[in-house]
């Protein structure tokens, strides 16, 4: 008997917060550090990844009974690579500037461990609606995390948000935030922040539980 299944909404929501790919699972670090030097780049990268993830999960989940185990990874990669190539082409046609800014990192979505990880761990074992809900949650969570990083780095590194100057003409840019170390620094601070939040919440809960039993 299968265990009682969680509602679809929970499958979606877990990716946003409780199992966030960046903040909790720390997956997909390459794009998270490399292309988040502006909000636009981060958002485009997040949405592209989200799209690829949802489409791949849909196909992997619907084909899960037909794909023989020994070639499953190769098949997943073929499916993922197809959607990555499509995304690459569509971005090049519609938003050439963003496409140029993202450069090699769009094709590199193929090797984003988050995507292959969700196929192997979830989509290949779950029915289509759950797989899609899970993929959408993870994808949106990923895009959200990248946008957070991009916002921090763009605001501090360039003094702008989505290209709009925030601090007037005398802003002193933190050059380091646009450089690779800035990615590591911002990610580290975000992880610190979210873990501190989590710890505080756990402490409050534990205190509340003690209060009830006492």
């Amino acid at each position: 008997m299968p265990p009682p299944s969680k509602p679809l909404g929970d499958e979606f929501l877990k990716g946003l917060w409780k199992e966030n790919p960046i903040f909790i699972q720390v997956l997909g670090m390459c794009p998270a550090l490399a292309v988040t030097n502006s909000v636009v780049n981060a958002l485009a990268m997040g949405l592209a990844t989200c799209f690829v993830l949802v489409c791949s999960s849909f196909f992997v989940s619907s084909l899960r009974r037909f794909i023989p185990r020994p070639v499953r990874i190769s098949t997943y990669i073929v499916i993922i690579a197809t959607f990555v190539t499509l995304t690459d082409l569509v971005l090049a046609a519609l938003v050439p500037d963003v496409h140029r800014a993202l450069g090699a990192f769009i094709p590199l979505i193929v090797v984003n461990c988050l995507i292959l990880g969700r196929q192997e761990a979830f989509a290949s074992k779950n029915p289509v609606p759950r797989a899609v809900a899970d993929a959408a949650g993870m994808g949106v969570g990923f895009a959200f995390a990248l946008t957070c990083l991009g916002a921090i780095r763009e605001i501090l590194g360039a003094g702008t948000f989505l290209g709009v100057p925030l601090f007037g003409p005398h802003f002193e840019p933190w050059v380091i935030m646009l450089l690779p170390p800035g990615g590591f620094l911002s990610l580290g601070f975000l992880l610190l922040f979210f873990n501190a939040l989590k710890q505080a919440r756990d402490r409050r809960r534990a205190a509340a539980a003690r209060g009830e039993t006492a």
Partner: protein
């Protein structure tokens, strides 16, 4: 994740037979089918997006040509035929396999200069760029990167106006372009490399040197001809 849990540990006899290994043919067929449909999808989308991508590229090129030749309003495509520059119309230019260069003209139809495209391996991948050359003043008057995958924050500083403006707005092409370390520019024919982006900035200089070497004779002959024609009027 949601595997069924056996209530009792299965005895050796009751253990279900291991699933039969799928046949090799089945494996090949699966991958082949996946590849086939993947190919179909990619070819279809490629055909759909190609015109837009081409158009984007053309527009970028046009903008780049007009940017690297300050003052130009229109441009024409030229290729080299028998050591001379020959104009091409757009249709021919598309079919010609030869590398083209572009002549920019100002509002009055006077030649402003030539835009020379080039490419050179950078730190990550080939850097594609375009240079504006004014044959009358014998200066490089502009430079723009068309395509590069240089490291964001380091190599991609070759795209920055802070580097391009002091180095490529009035760069003498005689006696030959020379790359010097940052802060060491003393003569009009020298280009400062970028600290932290030495490989990328040197690649740009090499690209310029090669483009000049390739086109210098043709440009000079054409400019001299245009000058003669102007005086002949």
């Amino acid at each position: 994740m949601s595997e069924a849990v056996h209530a009792t540990p299965p005895s050796a006899a009751a253990r279900p037979a291991p699933p039969r290994e799928p046949s090799t043919l089945r494996l090949i067929a699966t991958l082949g089918l996946a590849g086939f449909f993947s190919g179909l999808a990619i070819v279809g989308v490629h055909a759909l997006t190609l015109p837009r991508i081409e158009q984007n590229r053309r527009e970028r090129l046009e903008r780049a040509i007009l940017t690297v030749l300050p003052g130009s309003r229109s441009f024409a495509v030229f290729v080299e035929r028998d050591g001379r520059l020959a104009p091409l119309d757009a249709e021919q230019a598309k079919q010609a396999g030869e590398p083209p260069i572009y002549a920019g003209f100002d509002a009055a139809g006077k030649l402003v200069g030539f835009a020379l495209p080039g490419s050179e391996p950078g730190y990550q991948d080939a850097i594609h760029g375009i240079f504006g050359v004014d044959p009358a003043r014998r200066l490089v008057v502009g430079f723009q990167v068309l395509e590069s995958r240089e490291t964001p924050g380091l190599g991609d500083r070759i795209l920055a106006e802070e580097w391009i403006a002091p180095n490529f707005r009035a760069l003498a092409i005689d006696p030959g372009i020379e790359a010097v370390a940052a802060g060491k520019k003393t003569a009009a024919h020298q280009v400062e490399t970028i600290t932290g982006a030495t490989i990328s900035s040197r690649a740009v200089v090499r690209m310029l040197q090669k483009a000049l070497e390739r086109w210098r004779a043709g440009i000079e002959a054409y400019a001299a001809g245009a000058e003669r024609a102007r005086r002949g009027e």
